[in-house]
């Protein structure tokens, strides 16, 4: 059995409050045997500069991706990775990272495809833990290797592929990239020039809600009321809508996937990880330019 949920009042408003823990909760449970903490950062060296004591590193680039095919690791690869990290199928796995948990949410989404039962995000991520002066360590974690079972990845519920997005056209889509990427002025993220596409713009019908709007200044998630104002009042989503979210390679949109599915409780949210680097390079894929969906 996993660890008890964090009963922080803010979380109780969310659809799945058990998916988040506060820094206080984590500090109190850091030595609990059923807990594994994993750091997943954009900067691949940040973990080495100091991490939450005992936390393992989960690298999005080298560990969660298949090294050859553009895809995630398979069931055997995931089992090997989890076993090496000392994570069991019944571990409570708390993920955290830099940049508003951008990559931690991505790692959590990938772990979701393998159905790991108890996944949680540290609200506020690495930035909040450090801002509060909590301990960090450069000591490598001492974890015993486990025997994580081989569970095949299930892409049906939460992942969307290009052809599925084509047949989804006309239904709600959220583009979480920066405004310049959405309108088509930029073929890449500001300051990220090379991960581009041949065509700029957005998928027809997609509403623009940059992913980081869901995070407050201290990197924690905004309250349920604030999130509803953004995604329901502004972007016009309804809670029973099937939604597809996308960005450039599917990482920023994992953060929005987490918000829509776990915090607002939308049952059918899929992340299109092919995202703009696939769509904007795809022959004959329909594209819209400018401000309007």
């Amino acid at each position: 059995m996993g660890l008890p949920s964090d009963s922080a009042p803010k979380f109780q408003d969310y659809a799945h409050p058990e998916m988040l823990v506060t820094t206080e909760w984590l500090a109190d449970h850091l030595d609990d045997p059923g807990l594994v903490v994993a750091e997943s950062d954009e900067d691949v060296l940040l973990y080495e500069t100091g991490h939450i004591p005992g936390a393992v590193k989960l690298d999005w680039h080298t560990e969660l991706n298949d090294p050859v095919t553009r895809d995630y690791v398979d069931g055997a690869g995931f089992a090997r990775l989890m076993s090496e990290k000392g994570i069991s199928r019944d571990s409570t796995l708390v993920l955290y990272g830099d940049r508003n948990n951008w990559w931690a949410a991505y790692a959590l989404w990938v772990c979701t495809l393998f159905g790991h039962p108890d996944l949680r995000l540290l609200d506020g991520g690495r930035a909040k833990w450090i801002a509060e002066g909590r301990p960090v360590s450069t000591d490598p974690p001492q974890r015993t290797r486990t025997d994580y079972p081989v569970v095949e990845r299930d892409d049906t519920m939460f992942r969307a592929f290009r052809d599925q997005v084509l047949s989804h056209l006309g239904q709600p889509l959220i583009d979480v990239r920066s405004p310049g990427e959405y309108t088509g002025e930029l073929l890449h993220m500001p300051d990220y020039p090379q991960e581009g596409a041949l065509r700029g713009g957005h998928i027809p019908g997609a509403r623009s809600v940059p992913w980081s709007r869901a995070a407050a200044d201290d990197a924690t998630f905004r309250s349920r009321g604030e999130l509803e104002a953004i995604y329901q009042d502004e972007a016009g989503l309804r809670p029973d809508d099937p939604v597809v979210v996308y960005c450039r390679i599917g990482e920023r949109s994992s953060h929005t996937w987490f918000v829509l599915h776990h915090l607002l409780g939308y049952p059918q949210v899929r992340n299109y990880d092919g995202s703009w680097t696939e769509w904007g390079n795809s022959v004959k894929a329909p594209i819209r330019r400018g401000d309007s969906p």
């Binding site: 900067d43 691949v44 940040l46 080495e48 500069t49 080298t62 300051d191 090379q194």
Partner: protein, 147 residues
Amino acid sequence: MTAPAGSLSPRLREIAEDFSSVPDSQRLQLLLEFSEELPELPARFAGHQDLLEKVPECQTPLFLAVEVDADGITHLFFDAPREAPTTRGFAGILHAGLDGADADEVLATPGEFCNQLGLQDLVSPLRLRGMAAMLARIKRQVRDQRS
């Protein structure tokens, strides 16, 4: 003294050899050491970001300055945030390898040097291209200052 095009300064060659001789697991540690060894920006540049050139190709903003002195020796200055150790590490490698080098040596450094460190499987290609962009901007400044 002229360095043949496409050759590495002696110090850069040592760095490339160091990187390729250690196993993958220690390569990131080595990069971290370079990030820690990057000298602070001298006081005369502090608060004068206009004197520095921005390298937008890096995922985290990085600024650099290049000076070629009367003897043709290159001096490099970097402003890279501590919360971006990878970018700092790249700057640290270029500083360790090219600060104090002859301008000809800097200009002879091949653009693909960044791919000789064995980091391709550890660091995303986007980041490595950020390092290549840093090198290209350094070389352009050296060329401009000499002409």
